[in-house]
Amino acid sequence: MGENILQLEAIKVRYSGLPVLHDISLHVDSGETVCVVGSNGAGKSTLLRAIMGTQRVFEGRVVFQGEEIQRLRTEAVVSKGIIYVPEEKMLFQPISVEENLRLGAYVLHDRGTIEKNLRFVYTLFPRLQERRFQAASTLSGGEQQMVAIGRGLMSNPTILMLDEPSLGLAPILVDEVLDTVRRLKAEGMTILLVEQNVREALDLADRGYVLQTGKIVAEGTGQELLKSDMFRSAFLGI
């Protein structure tokens, strides 16, 4: 594990005055896969959106590679190297898979790098290569998730943030998506993952944080969390 890449220092987020995140502090180191788990409404997506600058951070700091970024616009955050793959995927539906992927490389300027990244995405998801001229809207849910992740990888992100990548997928596809995350991890990618498949996510992550009603209530390695009482009572009802 390398140096600290992303660090949240006591951030607070409010929706129309109501606090949704209280004093969240967490960090992600280079090459690490960190997972944030929590039930619906715990504030997991809000956390990622706060990092992206789509959700205003009221207090606290978001530090990325030594630089404060909590006041930057979303597009500036992206050009720093933080990529967010939203839960809703937000694909450009009527245009082709390949055009979607190429738009993912908007912040890059070198053609060679873009072509290299495109080949990497196609080796990661051979099915996207088969369908590269099809409109994104014609793909299945699993394939659309592949486009969303692939599009995120196109810009050589320093950190990839995946928001519930397995949401709404059939069990067999859930495994496929999580396998992809595992492969990216093996490639050395730094990943911040928000997942609802708690066991599998914690199993593959290096470390995890448990978020409950806007607070971090537990942290540790995946195995530690799976064994901890706090975690078992929060998720497994034991």
Partner: protein, 304 residues
């Protein structure tokens, strides 16, 4: 027969210009989901720009296109950053009233500066010249030039949208603005660019028609209404749709002339009492209603 063919040609030619007018409207709508009621006022400003530049320099108004395009582009961007950006935060009705207000403002500003009288230009090199295609088919040179340059401008914008990185980013912003921001696309600047292109294509169209269309501060509304019909016919936000619907509308505006010609030639008294040319823009909307009934998304529907 030759009169029919001449009418068809005239319709296609004016249709190409109308397509360029509608192009700006459809791009602004496509990118921002906002209907620009002031679009025809941009065209009116383009007409004055062409007319005044041509008069001041003595060149043909067709050579004033770069000036008109630059004025429209700048005007579009100023409107966006100075006004539209703020209205976008309000509800839909605020946006409608906002661009409607912009229309009234620009129109009355033109009234203040230029006065209400009709102005026209007669010194253009092409004025009065025409081509004979044989069989009595005559095409005025001014309209041919306007149509040709409109198509050129249209193709240029199409290439910009489809072949350049900034054009793809503009399309992405139109399709999913939040998704575009997550790709690092500065959507605010893309919105401004859409207004720039929208304003520029309208003013270029204005400078193109000033050779054969007189200008006054109220000329815009007609073009706004026609452009609305074209955008709805072609499909909201669709660029190829705007082109083909423009041709359709151009043809529709010329057919009543042919009808009148027939009624005078064959002396159908009941038809001569009601010259159809007087109502030619009504037929545009009749066609619009008919297509809306059978194909509400327009001919090339893109956005719902």
């Amino acid at each position: 027969m030759d009169i029919l063919v001449s009418s068809l040609f005239a319709g296609l030619l004016i249709g190409m210009v109308l397509a360029l007018v509608a192009l700006g409207l459809t791009i602004i709508f496509g990118v921002m989901d906002i209907v620009n009621f002031a679009h025809g006022e941009f065209l009116m400003i383009g007409m004055y720009t062409g007319l005044l530049t041509a008069q001041a320099t003595g060149v043909d108004p067709l050579f004033t296109l770069p000036v008109a395009g630059a004025v429209g582009f700048a005007l579009g961007i100023i409107c966006y950053y100075g006004f539209i950006k703020f209205v976008m935060r309000g509800p839909m009705v605020a946006q409608l009233l906002g661009t409607f207000g912009l229309m009234l403002f620009l129109r009355n500003l033109a009234l203040l500066i230029f006065g209400s009288e009709d102005r026209s230009l007669h010194h253009g090199v092409l004025v009065g010249k025409s081509f004979e295609l044989g069989m009595g088919i005559i095409i005025p040179a001014t309209k041919l030039a306007a149509a040709g340059l409109s198509v050129a401008a249209f193709v240029a914008v199409w290439l910009l949208m489809n072949r350049t990185k900034v054009g793809k980013a503009l399309t992405a912003t139109a399709l999913n603005p939040q998704g575009a921001r997550y790709m690092g696309i500065p959507t605010e600047r893309m919105n401004a660019l859409a207004w720039g292109i929208g304003g520029g294509s309208a003013t270029i169209a204005g400078a193109l028609i000033v050779n054969f269309w007189s200008v006054n501060p109220f000329v815009g509304l007609l073009f706004t209404m026609i452009a609305f019909a074209i955008v709805a016919l072609g499909g909201f936000g669709s660029v190829p749709g705007a082109f083909f619907a423009g041709l359709v509308v151009g043809l529709i505006t010329e057919i009543p002339g042919f009808w009148d010609f027939m009624s005078y030639t064959f002396e159908f008294e009941w038809m001569m009492d009601v010259p159809m040319t007087s109502f030619k823009y009504m037929w545009v909307y009749v066609a619009y209603f008919v297509i809306m009934v059978f194909r509400p998304r327009g001919l090339f529907g893109w956005k719902q």
